[in-house]
């Protein structure tokens, strides 16, 4: 199944080189959890980070569905 992964802010560096913008589409097996996706891209899970699936809060153990949009970024501040 296909999901879209967006890595914001400094997490952008974990996207494959040559990625346009901050998103890439990924083929994943059924039953894939967010944490599987993160380790596949080398996003360090020990960092405090925020996970959104389709714009809503989600945990690393969330099981993904076809067409989900997963956005991940480090917790920091704006203003």
């Amino acid at each position: 199944m296909k999901v879209r992964l967006k890595l914001f802010a400094v997490f952008r560096r974990y996207l494959p080189p040559g990625t346009q913008g901050n998103a890439c589409d990924v083929e994943v097996p059924d039953g894939t959890q967010v944490s599987d996706l993160l380790s596949r891209f080398g996003v360090p899970e020990k960092e405090s980070l925020l996970i959104l699936v389709n714009g809503r809060d989600a945990g690393p153990d969330r099981v993904l569905r076809d067409g989900d949009v997963v956005a991940v970024f480090p917790t920091l501040a704006g203003g």
Binding site: K6, F8, A9, V10, R12, R13, G21, N22, E47, S48, L50, L52, N54, G55, R56, D57, A71, F73, P74, T75, L76, A77, G78, G79
Partner: protein, 609 residues
Amino acid sequence: MFGWHGKILRVDLTNENVSVEEVDPQMAKDFIGGRGWSIQYLYGEVDPTVDPLAPENKLIFGTGPLTATPAPTGNRYVVTTKSPLTGALSCSNSGGMFPTEMKRTGFDLFIFEGRAERPVYLWVNDDQVEIRPAEHLWGKTVHQTEDILLEETDPKAKVACIGPAGERLVKIAAIMNDKHRAAARSGVGAVMGSKMLKAVVVRGTQKTPLAEPQAMRELCKLVHSEVSRDVKKGSSLREYGTAYVPPVTNEIGILPTRNFQTGVFEGVDNINGPTLTENYLIRPKPCFGCPIACGRDTRVDDPLYGGEGEGPEYETIAALGSGCGIDNLAAVAKANYVCNELGVDTISMGVTLSCAMEMYEKGVLPESDVGRPLRFGDADAVIALIKQTAYREGFGDALAEGSYRLAEKYGHPELSITAKKLECPGYDPRGAKGMGLLYATSNIGASHMAGDLAYPEVFGVPKKIDPLTIENKPHLIHRFEDAFTVIDAAGLCVFLSLRYLFDSDVNLWPARLTKLMNYATGAGYTEETLLQAGERIFNLERLFLLKAGFTKDDDTLPRRMLEEPMPEGPAKGHVVELDEMLPEFYRLRGWDENGVPTNARLAELGLKC
């Protein structure tokens, strides 16, 4: 005294006279500093029903006890006055270099009174204070003004000034410092202009005396090392500035788009941090003593939008970018440079323009009044109209009154996205409901910095909370408003303090901040008494508003936020259930059902009505 100098500089502009006053140590402690002292003086000396542009209003620059100390980000000041835009309070905050230099002159506060007969500027060189003629500066831009002033005073001096907008009493005029930093909100620039005060120039060598300098240095070193460690791992603020935020707010569906008609912007990928860093960034820029360096030195080489300066920040990108339907970051940067040069609040400018755009597209604002078409996405119109606003030329004269008066003039006040007539910042509260309660209850109107619950609701700092629920938000907004009042009054920047000086809990226990305050002042605060001082300040500000004529009916939000469900995105279908949060908020604050502080609460805080 320690931390505080304990000295106020009073500037009587009518008689061109200055005087120095000592500060009562008990008042100093009870009201922390900066913003807290300022409301104490304003409430005591200014009738809250005064016309904000009359000589009887006072303009107060307030540094805090931690300004110009080793405290990381101890580099801020607050401008307090009655606002000509809202009729409520202004507490506009700015960093850069000016606040530190101001504190070094040996004064904690400058209080400007009356009105000069001719344009003047104030030159404070340690304890040498002069009111000098400024006719030669009147009409000059912010950058021209600063360049001339540094030549006539001291190249190492720091400058706060108004541009043409403040001179013309534009109600959304800012007070700029260090050319590119802004005490922007609430039209404080217009108050300064109404007093014929063009600029304040400071040069100081007085060190801030510290009660426990060794302990202070050790704690500051520890905090610095933690920040440096985190920055080394990868700091989004250092790398991208606050411009990293648009994709985040867009992802949760709260990025203001086309006058808050929706929270999802199709052009977001063109107006974000990486675009800024890759195309326009010269270098990150820190305020005085800050290890983060979220500021941006930028330059745009472009035939249409060429310019140089600092920024744009997130709020500017939201208000002048997505808010106006513009997805060209060079154009947003240029709009930002123009606002800074002429001294205009980018948030209010953007939201006033987007209000005009919506009215134009709905056919209620005639093109003949504007003098050109005014559709969402028209960056050239935005830039031209910013200049017209600053100079009150043509349609700019109407824009200069802010979106509420503009929309009211055309019979559609509901299209002004404001609270207490202050334009809403870059978080649509239908998707971040705590922010809705904040906008409705802040003492300056719709401000995100009055108690920024976007930290936990959007960014997960200190912890992530659900932005779409209303549970517990009254309690959290109460705590955040008081904590942010403390940060402002102490003279610190929120970005660092929130993360490193409070315990990692959403109730914001100020453990380290209390230590810093005590090492600086020796005043023996506990965490409770420090937060209580924040509450005291907030309540005195509230009393000022009530005496100015505000009622619970003004603790509200635009109709769009209350009644028009978000049309798309993760917050689709949501509105702000303000009427379900407000009564609980009043109760927690110790206010009656009309939002008036009870005698019991006032007595607890040592305030009299």
